[in-house]
Symmetry: C2
Subunit: 284 residues, 2 copies
C-alpha cells in the first residue's frame, strides 16, 4: 500500500563557488552574487580567493578547486576576474566551471576600441593617491562630521543634505554616498520640536535645493527603534505614526523631494538620491 505522505524531497546538494581575483575580489563577488541570486533554490557555499597574483598562489587555488570537485562529486563554479594571462589560463584548466568575467568582454572591447588592453585590473578604483581617492576620503570625513545634524558649519559645502525622522536610514545612506560615489552627504534629523513649530530646522531652508527626504513605514520604524530602545515612547507605534505623518506633511509643504526607505536597500536609496538630485559621482 502506498504511503499517504510523499517521501521528503532529496536535499539539494550544496554547490561550491569560488571568487578568484588578482585584486580584492569585490568585483567578482558583487557580480557573482547578482548571478547566483537568480538561482533561488540552489544552496551555494562561497569561497573568496583575493590577491591571486602569482603562479604559486594560483597553484594553491587550482588544488582547492580540484579537491572540491572530488569531494563534492560536482565541479565548483569559478567566477574569475584574473587578468594575468598565464594565471588566468592555469586556473581555467582546473576542474571547475570557469566563468571569465574579464576575457569574455575584453576581446570585443579591444576590437571596438581598436586598442589593446593593458591586462591589469582595478586600477581606476584602486590608486590610493589619486585625486578621486582623496575626494572620496574627504567625502567620508565630511559625511561623518555632518552626521545627524552635528554641525551646521560646512553645510554650504554639502552636495546633498538628507532629512528625515530618527532611524529612517539617513546615516547609512550618507556614508554610502560618500564611500561609493565621493558625494559629500550631510544628514539632519527632523524631530518632534520641528513638527510642533511646523517649520524646518533653521539651518536648512537656505539649502532647500540640496535637501532630500527619507521616510519609512511607521510599522518598520517602530521595529527598528524597538531594537534600540525597547518599549520606549520613542519606539511606540503610535509615536512612530505621528512622527512619520508629520515629517511627510512637512516635506510636502516645503516642496522637498523624498522617498520611502522601507523596502529599499542602502544601494537603492543612494542610487535614487543621486538620480533625483542629479548629482554626478565624483569617484567610483
Amino acid at each position: 500500500m502506498p504511503t499517504r505522505h510523499p517521501s521528503p524531497p532529496t536535499p539539494t546538494a550544496i554547490r561550491t563557488v569560488f571568487f578568484v581575483s588578482d585584486g580584492t575580489g569585490v568585483t567578482a563577488e558583487t557580480f557573482g552574487h547578482s548571478l547566483l541570486a537568480q538561482f533561488d533554490g540552489v544552496p551555494f557555499k562561497e569561497l573568496r580567493m583575493p590577491f591571486i597574483d602569482t603562479m604559486d598562489k594560483a597553484a594553491d587555488v587550482i588544488e582547492r578547486i580540484n579537491n572540491v570537485a572530488r569531494v563534492d562529486h560536482m565541479r565548483p563554479i569559478v567566477f574569475s576576474t584574473l587578468v594575468d594571462p598565464e594565471i588566468n589560463y592555469a586556473v581555467r584548466c582546473a576542474h571547475g566551471l570557469f566563468l571569465d568575467m574579464i576575457q569574455t568582454f575584453v576581446e570585443p572591447l579591444e576590437k571596438e576600441l581598436g586598442a589593446k588592453s593593458s591586462h591589469s585590473i582595478g586600477r581606476g578604483h584602486n590608486i590610493a593617491d589619486s585625486k578621486e581617492y582623496d575626494q572620496r576620503i574627504e567625502a567620508i570625513n565630511f559625511s561623518l562630521a555632518h552626521d545627524d545634524g552635528q554641525t551646521h558649519g560646512g553645510l554650504a559645502d554639502a552636495d546633498v543634505i538628507l532629512v528625515g525622522v530618527s532611524r529612517s536610514g539617513k546615516t547609512p545612506t550618507s556614508l554610502y554616498l560618500a564611500m561609493q560615489y565621493g558625494i559629500k552627504a550631510a544628514n539632519y534629523p527632523l524631530i518632534p520640536e520641528d513638527f510642533e513649530r511646523q517649520t524646518l530646522p533653521s539651518a536648512l531652508p537656505r539649502y532647500r535645493n540640496k535637501l532630500f527626504g527619507l521616510s519609512i513605514a511607521p510599522e518598520r520604524l517602530a521595529e527598528v527603534r524597538n531594537e534600540r530602545r525597547p518599549r520606549s515612547q520613542y519606539a511606540s507605534l503610535a509615536n512612530c505614526r505621528d512622527e512619520v505623518a508629520a515629517a511627510e506633511a512637512m516635506m510636502r509643504r516645503e516642496g522637498i523631494r523624498w522617498l520611502s526607505s522601507t523596502t529599499k536597500s542602502i544601494e537603492e536609496i543612494a542610487a535614487t538620491v543621486l538620480q533625483e538630485v542629479r548629482l554626478e559621482p565624483r569617484s567610483f
Copy 2:
C-alpha cells in the same frame, strides 16, 4: 624635406559608455570600470541609467544610445545588467556595442546547475528587511559608535579592532568593512602618550586576537595631516616619522599583524584585513 618633428597625435575621440540596469547599476558600473580601466589611453564619457524596469524607460535609453551614435559618429559601449528578457532585447537592438553581463553567464550557469534562472537580479543584496541587511546596518552603527576609540564598552562584540596612528586610514576601512561585509569593525588610535608609556592603550590587550594594525609612510601621513591642520607640529614630517616608527615598533613588539595603507585603496585594505583576520563576511 621631411620635417624633423612627427605630426602631433590625433586627439583620441571620446567614447561614450552607458551603464544600463534595472537595479541600481552599481554592478554594471563597478564591473564596467574594471574593464575600461584596462584601456588607459582611451577617454570615456560615462552615463548611468539605473532603474530601467519598464519598456517606456527602455525606449528612452534606446533613443539616447542612438543619438550618441549619430552625434559621436561612433557607437557607444553599453554595459548591461538588464535581466528582463523583453527590455534586454530592446536595448540590445539599439546602435551600441551591447555587453550583456547577465545573459552571457546565465546560460552556462543554467546548464551547469540544471536549474532555470528567475530572471530577476540583485535580490540577495537588496532585500531591505532581510537578516543580512539588519546585520549590515547594525555593523555600520557599531563601527560609528566605536570610531576612534570613542567607547570601550562593546569592544568585546567587535569582529576586528583596527589600530594605528591618527589618519592612517582606520575610519574609512572600518566603515567599509561594516558597509560591504557586515563586519563589526571598531578602531582605536595609537597616540604619543601610548608611545611614551610603551604600552598599548589599556582597553586593548584583552582583545589582542582581534587587533589589526594600519601603518602608513610618514611622507604620505604628513601630506594627509597637513590638509587637516596645515603647518602644525602634528603634521610635521619629523613628528610623523616619530609616530609611525613608534607605532610600528609597538605593533611588532605586541605581535599585532599590520599592513601599510600607503598605496592601497580602502577596498584593498579591507579585503586584506578580512583575509588576515580570517573573518567571514556576514553580508554582501
